[in-house]
Each structure stands twice: as structure tokens, then as C-alpha cells.
């Protein structure tokens, strides 16, 4: 995603090496993704699902409210 847009920055962080950061974001299992310090994504998702989650969008086939 970072390669696709100059607005996106993506970091890979070793959870055990940066304990303080891991504790701040309550990382108890990996992979865990934090977007803009708030959105949490647990585990490794397929591309479509990950992109939608990162952008704060509902699942593609979810019923529209």
C-alpha cells in the first residue's frame, strides 16, 4: 500500500524488540496491524480484506446500513 500511494507509510516493527510500543498498542499476538494509531487489524488477512480494513471500510459483501 505504501508503494501505491505517497501518502501511505508502512512500518514493520519487531514486537519483542520494541516492548514499549507493543504495550502501547496492546500487542499480544502477531501479526497485529495498527492504522493511524487507532484501527486494529488482527492476523494476516487476504489483500482485499486488509485494504478495506485499513481504510476503515466495511467488508465488500456486508449489508449496507
Amino acid at each position: 500500500m505504501a508503494r501505491e500511494s505517497p501518502l501511505i507509510r508502512a512500518s514493520s516493527i519487531d514486537a519483542s524488540e520494541f516492548m514499549e510500543l507493543s504495550m502501547t498498542y496492546r500487542v499480544t499476538g502477531v501479526p497485529k496491524t495498527i492504522v493511524n494509531g487507532t484501527t486494529e487489524i488482527f492476523g494476516a488477512l487476504p489483500e482485499a480484506q486488509f485494504v478495506r480494513s485499513a481504510l476503515g471500510l466495511p467488508e465488500a459483501d456486508a449489508p449496507q446500513a
Binding site: A2, R9, S12, D14, A15, F18, P31, I34, V35, N36
Partner: protein, 144 residues
């Protein structure tokens, strides 16, 4: 003594051959009091650089070049910023790129060294229409 076996070097060299433009691995560390992980990271980066003529490593001092580090959003070390043709690719690695993370680093280097993000059309469309402000994605991983 190299960290990678000769077979692994061949494998990685073949993967890196997909690169079409130069990538600089900008490595932020400390001269004094650097954690051991920083020393290992430097070894890994130096070895990766030997596997492609398009990869170079630049070491920067996190303490002496604080503004530069801040400019790249680097607040912890060891940190690797991937520069594609001198520009920020947006990709960072914090911690030793070992185990699975080594392969992630190689994939990131290839991404930085090619024009293609590798995402499918639907993803690109979503990003184009929904990303209008800076977005920071932090992925917590473990090397093993």
C-alpha cells in the same frame, strides 16, 4: 563470514534481479551504545547489498541526525528506511530483519526497486478514492 548460505544468496540474488531501479537502505543507528540488534541489522543490510548492484546502504546517526530521522518518522532504532531512486518509498523496518522478516525485507526492496506496488486493481481503486490524508500503517511482527 556471510550470514546467508551460498544457496540462500543465490535464491535472493535471483529474486532481486527483478529490480529495475536503485534502492538505498537508509539505516539509522547510534555510534555509541547501539543495541546489539543494530549491529546485526547492519550486517544483514550489507550482505543484501552484495546481492544486487542496485542496492546500496547508507548509515545515519540517529543522535547526530535527529532532524533527518524525524523527517522520516524514525523514533526508534535500529530503523531501515527504503529509498526508491532517492525518494521515500514509504516503507520502514524497525528491528533486526531476521527469519520471516528477512523475506519481508527482500520483498520490500523489490517493491521499492520496481514501479509496481503489486496490488490488484480493486485495491488500487480503493486507495485512490479513499486515501486523501497521510496514513500510517504499523505492522507488529516477530522474526521467528
Amino acid at each position: 563470514m556471510p550470514l546467508l548460505s551460498e544457496q540462500d544468496r543465490q535464491t535472493v540474488r535471483a529474486q532481486l534481479a527483478r529490480m529495475t531501479s536503485p534502492v538505498r537502505l537508509l539505516f539509522f543507528t547510534q555510534a555509541i551504545g547501539a543495541p546489539e540488534t543494530a549491529l546485526i541489522t547492519k550486517q544483514v543490510l550489507d550482505e543484501v547489498a552484495t546481492l544486487s548492484g542496485l542496492i546500496s546502504v547508507e548509515e545515519a546517526n540517529f543522535v547526530l541526525e535527529k532532524d533527518r530521522a524525524a523527517g522520516y518518522g524514525v523514533e526508534h532504532i535500529p530503523a531501515v528506511v527504503l529509498l526508491a531512486n532517492g525518494d521515500d518509498s514509504g516503507m520502514r523496518f524497525f528491528g533486526v530483519p531476521a527469519g520471516y522478516e528477512f523475506m519481508s525485507l527482500i520483498e520490500a526492496v523489490i517493491l521499492a526497486g520496481t514501479e509496481d506496488s503489486g496490488l490488484d486493481a480493486a485495491s488500487r481503486a480503493l486507495i485512490a478514492s479513499h486515501v486523501t490524508a497521510p496514513m500510517n500503517i504499523q505492522v507488529f511482527v516477530t522474526p521467528t
